[in-house]
Symmetry: C2
Subunit: 314 residues, 2 copies
């Protein structure tokens, strides 16, 4: 059986974990493009500590850029952060040599697929929503907690042989992977949580999920931000039932307190995903003439805060 | 001529400056209640560095509490910060012995007079708006920059003999003091600037006036917050002309960059005036059923941030 060829670009904690699990199946040959952790990964691979079993992931090839990859991947997995200064097409162009490569984009936020769709009109794009708690704790070392889940579907919707094949590859692993025909819906569902709680955790001075569940003004702001998300989603043809709002509130109240990923990035002095989580959604609202005053307030404040914070850390 | 008796309670930079200028006239006998700077002021008075002339202000009496004041003041000037944990009536009760004492309240914000009016129904309250840049740079040392202005008027509006007499006392000094019949209007005019720029400077990560004048999203948020202030003011019978909004934008763009007083307090780890500047205005909006989504977003975030920040500084 020919091995499925996978190239993971921007292999941080999330990318390393998910494609490491693919490599474990023995059915895929997974190579990676890494930058800051190149030396550690080249020498030792990724050491992954996971509640579903620790393992060492030795990539088939370790490269500093996509250009160095000598082959033609079946799946090119891009799992970098969604940041405006990253030219994603440029990151992967060197390895996308034919329409035979399916681009798998694992990122948070909304409106993040367009630049890739425009740059690679011949390639199928699988938009992916990941549910995972994974952190890089040292060069080449990843700690993963709890369960892990991947939902992917064709950007634009509809059936996909590549999507079904990827689901098949994950069968039997600890990753709950599923191909869906309406990935846009799941992206919006995830955003429904991310859009309020990520920015509010940062703007509120470093609030964890428990502190945001104050049954008062902060929780109420989160609820109203979710209602604004529902309006924008609806204008994009995605119907998010109101129950999801209350489910998010309940989930956040009852889950053990944790810091949002945006807060973790912020406190580490890293750039945060302001545009993917807030900016793009505000622009969709503008395009449809929808009023989202709370979202725009958070967007203006968070963009300024992010800029100022990185200025200070420099 | 009998000297006018003044007792200044909470004599920080602003109170010391304005009542020090009164003492300089030779027509007033000014005593002070101070806490943290008691020793310095008791020994050396206030050393005031001012563009309108340096001077040393030796109070007639220096006390640790209002109870110690042996006399009955004509004017009791209260110039503490407007913070919810400060019991203002308790701060001054010991010195308010008869209806002959006029209470002069120098504070920012809206809805700050009520607790005093309820505690001292027999006493006239002069609500005061101060325009001054004054900072305490060391114990008993105050630096004042630029011009200084006081507007005061009877809480509730109307004529006031005590107000006119205070205006008269300031005549010939460098303080531009004026009695007005409609002080509520001037309070709202000052709030029209304070409500957007103070919170946004803090929530945006420490923005000075220049950085808030970005001719983009931050300035636009400030403009929209001002429009929300206009709605609430209008529901309170105060008409703030739209031109004032654009005038504030222009002023902020063109004035040399500076940090708002709220930002200065925040960076020094001090409690900020969230309720006087934002909370009370949101509650007025609620009472009138007015929608102020941006203001409420800033209020929820700023209250959380203030709490969290002081937790961390402890």
């Amino acid at each position: 059986m020919r091995l499925v060829k996978v190239l993971t670009v921007g292999a941080g904690a999330v990318g390393a974990y998910f494609t490491g699990r693919l490599a474990q199946t023995g059915k895929a040959e997974v190579s990676v493009v890494v930058r800051s952790d190149y030396d550690a990964v080249k020498q030792d691979g990724f050491h992954i500590q996971s509640e579903c079993g620790d393992f060492v992931f030795h990539p088939a090839g370790v490269y500093r850029s996509a250009e160095e990859y000598p082959d033609e991947p079946d799946y090119l997995v891009l799992s970098s952060k969604a940041l405006p200064d990253i030219d994603e097409p440029a990151l992967i162009r060197g390895a996308v040599k034919s329409p035979g490569t399916t681009i798998v984009l694992i990122q948070n936020g909304i409106g993040i697929e367009e630049p890739l769709a425009q740059a690679f009109p011949e390639n199928e794009i699988l938009s992916t929503v990941a549910y995972i708690g994974a952190t890089r704790t040292a060069p080449g070392v990843v700690r993963q907690k709890g369960s892990s889940e991947l939902k992917f579907g064709r950007f634009g919707g509809g059936d996909s042989a590549a999507g079904r094949r990827l689901e098949e590859l994950y069968r039997g692993t600890s990753v709950k992977a599923s191909f869906v025909e309406n990935i846009a819906y799941y992206r919006w569902v995830k955003l429904l949580w991310n859009l309020p709680y990520n920015p509010v955790s940062v703007l509120g001075g470093g609030l964890d999920t428990k502190e945001m569940s104050d049954r008062g003004p902060v929780e109420n702001l989160c609820r109203e931000l979710m209602e604004e998300v529902r309006l924008v989603a609806s204008s994009c043809g995605v119907d998010l039932p109101q129950e999801l709002v209350e489910r998010n509130i309940e989930y956040t109240r009852n889950f053990p307190p944790y810091k949002t990923s945006m807060l973790v990035d912020f406190e580490a002095g890293r750039q945060i995903e302001v545009e993917a989580i807030l900016g793009n959604v505000c622009r969709l609202a503008d395009r449809s003439g929808i009023s989202v005053p709370r979202m725009k307030t958070c967007y203006a404040l968070l963009a300024a805060l992010d800029r100022k914070h990185r200025e200070k850390s420099r």
